[in-house]
Amino acid sequence: MNNCDKFLGSISNYIDGDLQKAEQAFMEEHELQCLPCQKKALQIRQLTRRLPRLPRVKTTPSFDLTLHARLRAEINRKRSFSLFPHLGIVWQIPAYAAAAILFIGLGIFLDRLLVRQNFVSPTSIVPVVVEESLPKTSSHPNPDNPPSPQTKLSHYVGLKQINPKELWRREGTALSYEEKRRTLTSIKDSVESGRYKSRESVLNLRQANVSIPF
């Protein structure tokens, strides 16, 4: 780095009087010896004196009126759209997220509560359907014509209203014939014993003359 680069690299600190003694001495000496650097230093000194004295602009009288109008509009907008009008914008998003989580959690809680109390909404009843192709009277599996292991439980009976979670979980895998038999038997027992208080389900089962195909 030559002396001019060194001088220009510290010119601001030099003008601001923010240098150590040795550096200050070097700068003063170089300024005396180097005309281009001297010119630059002079111009920057003038500039730093001129810049703070540039005319100051002032807000117009309409500034406050416009700002107040915008604030009023903002307050009205907040009041009409926000569930949390007292919170700032930064806190609105977490507040809405927390409300959504609370809402979902409440839904799950109520769902579990209703299942525990064996309540099934009448509107959710799906008529029980028995596949025609299934043997209706045999109490044992027909070894010559067993139902396909790939057949889903919902093809036997509309079970959603009885235990949708179990059905959904188990239908994710291919069930063996024995598993289907056990599931259907337990469902039929549950309905007939009144564990699921769905009168319509029982009626539907009776009307359809359901007989478990094994």
Binding site: L8, G9, S10, I11, S12, N13, D18, K40, Q43, I44, L47, T48, R50, L51, P52, L54, P55, R56, V57, K58, T59, T60, F63, D64, T66, L67, R70, L71, E74, I75, L87, G88, I89, V90, W91
Partner: protein, 199 residues
């Protein structure tokens, strides 16, 4: 609207924003009165347009109203509000560049040449006391935004190096070296404008 309590005029900014956070709208009004002209000057020197600068300052106060609880006492209030105004001014500058790109690309070659001649004619026409200010503003406008911002904060607004660092979120050493480079660039731009016939 909320509480409106009388406030001692000598109260500091941090106490004012605290009172505003507690719902005292008179404190908000006092903040607006204290900072509106300072921020307008800053935005005007940054953007070179009084209308755009007023918009930026209004938007700054609107953001202050909306996000009053985002301010924490760990920072000086003045640096916090200057940071908001600086970010909004930079956004405005980007928008303007996009607008200019579109409008200039819409012109034919002859029209573009005419536009440039017109700008130069303006510099030569106003040979009076206000010319120098115009030339300085033109030189500031030609600086890259990060140098422009630091020159305005340090040399026009006369904030301390520490305050400039806090607003621009850069360390003190970087502030000093950037001020040095910005002054050299501004001096070179001014020389260049003078040589082009701006004086």
């Amino acid at each position: 609207m909320g509480r409106r309590l009388s406030i001692d005029q000598s109260i500091d900014d941090e106490e004012l924003i605290k009172q505003f956070q507690e719902g005292n709208l008179y404190a908000y009004d006092m903040i607006v009165q204290r900072y509106k002209d300072q921020l307008l000057n800053f935005a005007f020197r940054f953007l070179g347009s009084i209308e755009e600068a007023q918009d930026v300052v209004q938007e700054t106060f609107l953001r202050l109203y909306q996000n009053k609880h985002a301010y924490r006492r760990i920072a000086k209030f003045s640096t916090w509000i200057y940071t908001i105004a600086g970010n909004l001014a930079k956004t405005e500058l980007r928008k303007r560049k996009r607008r200019k790109l579109v409008s200039i690309s819409d012109l034919s070659f002859d029209e573009r040449e005419y536009e440039i001649k017109d700008v130069q004619a303006n510099i030569e026409r106003d040979v009076d006391g206000s010319l120098k200010e115009e030339i300085i503003q033109r030189a500031i406008d030609e600086l890259p935004p990060r140098f422009r911002q630091i020159i305005i904060l340090r040399d026009i607004q006369e904030l301390s190096y520490e305050e400039v660092g806090a607003i621009m979120k850069i360390p003190l050493g970087t502030v000093k070296s950037r001020v040095n480079r910005a002054r050299l660039k501004l001096q070179a731009k001014l020389e260049d404008i003078m040589d082009r016939g701006g004086n």
